[in-house]
Amino acid sequence: MPFLDRRILAHFNWSLLLLLLLLAGVGILNLYSAGTLRQDQGVTTAFYYQKQLYWLAIGFLAILFIIPFDYRHLKAVVWPLYGLTLFLLVYVLGYGTAISGATRWIDLGVASFQPTELAKVSVILLCAALLARMPGPLSWKDLGKILILVAVPVAFIMAQPDLGSGLNILMLAGGMLLFKGINRRILFTFLVGIPVLAPITWFFLLDYQKQRILTFLHPQRDPLDAGYNTIQSKIAIGSGQIWGKGFLEGTQSQLRFLPAKHTDFVFSVFGEEWGFVGCAILLSLFCFFLYQLVVVAGTSKDSFGAYIASGVFFYFFWQIVINLGMVLGLMPIVGIPLPFFSYGGSSTLINCILLGLVFNISMRRYIFTRE
């Protein structure tokens, strides 16, 4: 069978592509605004949006590169990929380059590379391959096997320390398990067990992580330092009111009240400038986008593809939930970006690669019907 015949192209998921282009486009516009600062003298604009454009271009090339190969070949490489991930994660702990206190990067000369991003892909693929072979609903044994395989890279990632990515991977794997279906009794045990065990994890958190949780619980505890971000973000978004202040008109962000406004808190800039109406539209776009991923997961013609799609779904879902929850003051501050909005090369690229897989699965959903 040729790599790309006409039928496959005909089944290309144009609505997902459209949503991706819309989100990325709005994201770039918003980054342009977020980079605008009122400095000592006059207004200057940072170049985040330009760099983000370059990375998006690379991401689209990656999608084009991924689409032709039948994703089912990937089953053969899930284990080597997992092994490589572990090796790189260990390597980065020992030899990585530290940026703002965390060792996450491998310097490749021309660009830096975060093995954490690779871990996201390899965990999704490994879980999908394993789940496809397991009879559902999951038993204790199967569940334990997957959880251990996921926990090892997550532990390395959290040791970097990168709480956000670690949580993201853990939660996307958990989502995939739920999607597969878990024995009712086991599910019940977890529902009871996690609230009981959660306080114990407190002792494993680093000081700044504890600080964030405490600050979330009492934002006024420290209104000018840790709680500052949440309060400022709420003020920025709230002050947008119904119609927003207009593009490039956000005073809160231009006056530098907003922290990390081109990365984790980028949505605050959007909320201030576009108001409730703009936010509602953007939220709808995100939800349609997620819905498209659900459709792919639901219509895939083999379970491996369905699980990959569900993994990608959860990857984006948790990021959106946690980031918006944090920015809107519903959750503690965890460093998780908003897909397509937050500035970040590696994450933009990995977003595209994962979507490339989904396109790949989506295009091939009819190939089995002929046989």
């Binding site: 089912r72 709230g238 409730f276 659900v294 639901g298």
Partner: protein, 590 residues
């Protein structure tokens, strides 16, 4: 080809994903509605006002009072002009305008702005002018509203109302250095800390703790509301043992002489006055002293920055005979009634050591030798004692060590010995060195405070007390003179006759209705040539003139005082230092 994989999507899983998306949509939409529609107006208002800023509430620096409550170090309001960069629309124009308002050039202001901007956090005021005059203040205050970002900050500023009389006692406060800022996170630019003397020694307690307030400000930086998060705690007030009137009296009496005067209560170690001249104006440092003035202070040949009471080290001259005599009494080197002959000189090997009295004192006994300060008697005594006994005794009774007074940077002085000379001079001890030491010349160096403490110990029955400046401190004994009561009385009596009997060198101190004892001293600055010795003080250049000492005690009833004076380049002890000490007794025993 891949194997066929008849896959039925799990309807439960599908449903789960759909409901998660719907749930996300509803939750976030609700929250957005809540923030942007329901509370939107309040947030918009807060955003307009541009919010919360943190400010320190300055803690009032603790007062320093004299023993009767008179304020020696207090605070007065100072008005600083500061700039909040983020509120300022045009920094160049604003600085130009400030330069119009004041005498400060634009270049100077810009230089201050550039050097300080990296050390001030965003939205915090950067102080451009630490202290405005009243005319500048009223002029600027009315125009402030047109210049967003500018603000006047009222701060308490340290003020020493009686500077320079108390300059060496109080020291001064000044802006912290970069290093001090780094070491002490509670300090910020614009704060002051104690840098010298008591202001430094008591700094941590005087400083108190700053408070914190949260300001709500609008887009122009105008304060709308303030909320105090933590009250400031003012620094502690200290009361000194010093009598400010006496201190001023001595300051006046000293005229423009350089020197030091200490008045002490022998029974408690309380210091009633501590004058060191010349002084300086401690208030000049508060806002940062100009480079020119600082260089002037540093290069002034009279060294106004030196607290001569604790940092001036001088040869004690004949005052040291009290220490030699003590050592001799302790060791019973000589019967006190045995007379030695003074022909006016003493020959050691081929060197001749002279007595200050050209014709000599003839046959002279111990007490008379102290009274007339006979050098030859003490050459002989010193030779009998030997340098080891002398330096052992002096070092273990308060010399060659700090007195431990609360003031920083005290000097310990020098009592030479064989080992000391070898280490510091590089030559071995000679017999002549012992003779010089016996009359307080040569290598021996003492501070006026050490002498005061020694005399105080004689008067109080042998207790070496730590000189004390704070009324709250209990007397602290650091040692005991190893002398018998009899010996101590002999020394006190010798000092008394020095004042009260004919031919006594300290006769100037005679005061009615009070028992005064004294010992004069003349500390050689350089070895004067033979023909200059005995010449009139006025004919010798100032810097070659001898230092004049007077160590004394005064008793009337229960009142007991020790007064020690040193006048630099004053010539003879009695004539230069005597009148100052006498005026102190006139003040103390009116």
């Amino acid at each position: 080809m891949h194997e066929s994989d008849p896959y039925e999507p799990s309807s439960k899983g599908y449903l789960l994903l759909i409901s998660l998306v719907v749930g996300l949509f509803c939750l976030i939409l609700l929250r957005l509605w809540h923030l942007q529609v329901l509370q939107g107006r309040e947030y918009a208002k807060e955003a307009e006002q541009n919010l919360l800023r943190e400010r320190s509430i300055f803690a009032l620096r603790g007062l320093i009072r004299d023993r009767d409550g008179e304020i020696l170090a207090g605070n007065r309001p100072a008005y600083a002009l500061a700039l909040v960069r983020e509120d300022c629309r045009d920094i160049q124009a604003t600085l130009t305008r400030i330069s119009d308002w004041t005498d400060i050039t634009f270049q100077k202001l810009e230089e201050r702005y550039n050097s300080r901007k990296s050390r001030v956090k965003p939205f915090k005021p950067l102080i451009l002018i630490p202290s405005l005059t009243f005319s500048e203040l009223s002029h600027i205050e009315t125009r402030l509203m047109n210049w967003p970002g500018l603000q006047i900050i009222t701060r308490p500023q340290r003020h020493h109302p009686l500077a320079p009389v108390f300059s060496h006692l109080l020291g001064y406060v000044a802006q912290p250095t970069l290093q001090e800022l780094r070491d002490n996170p509670s300090l910020q630019l614009g704060d002051t800390i104690g840098k010298r003397s008591l202001e430094r020694a008591l700094d941590r307690k005087l400083r108190g703790n700053k408070g914190k307030k949260i300001l709500e400000v609008d887009a122009q930086g105008r304060v709308l509301k303030e909320r105090i998060v933590a009250e400031s705690e003012p620094g502690r007030t200290f009361r000194l043992t010093i009598d400010a009137d006496l201190q001023r009296h001595i300051w006046r009496e000293m005229g423009d002489k350089s020197g030091a005067v200490v008045v002490m209560r022998p029974n408690s170690g309380d210091v009633l006055a501590m004058v060191s001249k010349p002084g300086y104006n401690g208030n000049a440092f508060v806002e940062g002293i100009s480079e020119q003035k600082w260089q002037d202070l540093l290069n002034n040949p009279r060294d106004p920055l030196r607290n001569r009471v604790i940092q001036g080290t001088y040869p004690p001259g004949s005052v040291f005979k009290l220490v030699i005599a003590s050592s001799a009494l302790l060791r019973e080197t000589i019967p006190i009634d045995k007379e030695l002959h003074c022909p006016g000189y003493y020959r050691l090997g081929n060197r001749v050591f002279r007595c200050w009295k050209k014709g000599g004192h003839g046959d002279i006994a111990f007490q008379e030798a102290i009274k007339q300060s006979c050098d030859v008697y003490f050459y002989k005594l010193g030779e009998k004692l030997g340098i080891d006994a002398i330096s052992d005794y002096a070092r273990s009774n308060g010399f060659h060590q700090k007195t431990g007074i609360i003031l920083p940077n005290e000097h310990s002085g020098v009592i030479p010995g064989r080992e000391w000379k070898l280490r510091n001079i590089g030559r071995s001890w000679q017999g002549g060195d012992t003779l010089n030491t016996a009359i307080g010349q040569g290598f021996t160096l003492v501070t006026p405070l050490q002498i005061s403490r020694y005399v105080a110990a004689l008067v109080n029955g042998g207790h070496l007390l730590k000189p004390n400046l704070l009324t709250e401190s209990e007397p602290s004994q650091q040692g005991r003179l190893p002398l018998s009561g009899e010996s101590i009385n002999f020394l006190l009596e010798s000092m008394r006759v020095t004042v009260e009997e004919p031919h006594g060198t300290a006769w100037r101190l005679r005061t009615q209705n009070a028992t005064i004892g004294g010992k004069t001293g003349t500390a050689q600055v350089i070895k004067l040539k033979e023909e200059q010795r005995g010449a009139d003080t006025e004919t010798i250049p100032y810097r070659f003139r001898d230092h004049a000492w007077m160590a004394s005690y005064g008793i009337r009833g229960k009142q007991k005082y020790v007064v020690v004076a040193l006048v630099e380049h004053g010539g003879h002890g009695s004539s230069a230092a005597g009148p100052v000490v006498k005026s102190v007794y006139d003040y103390l025993f009116p």
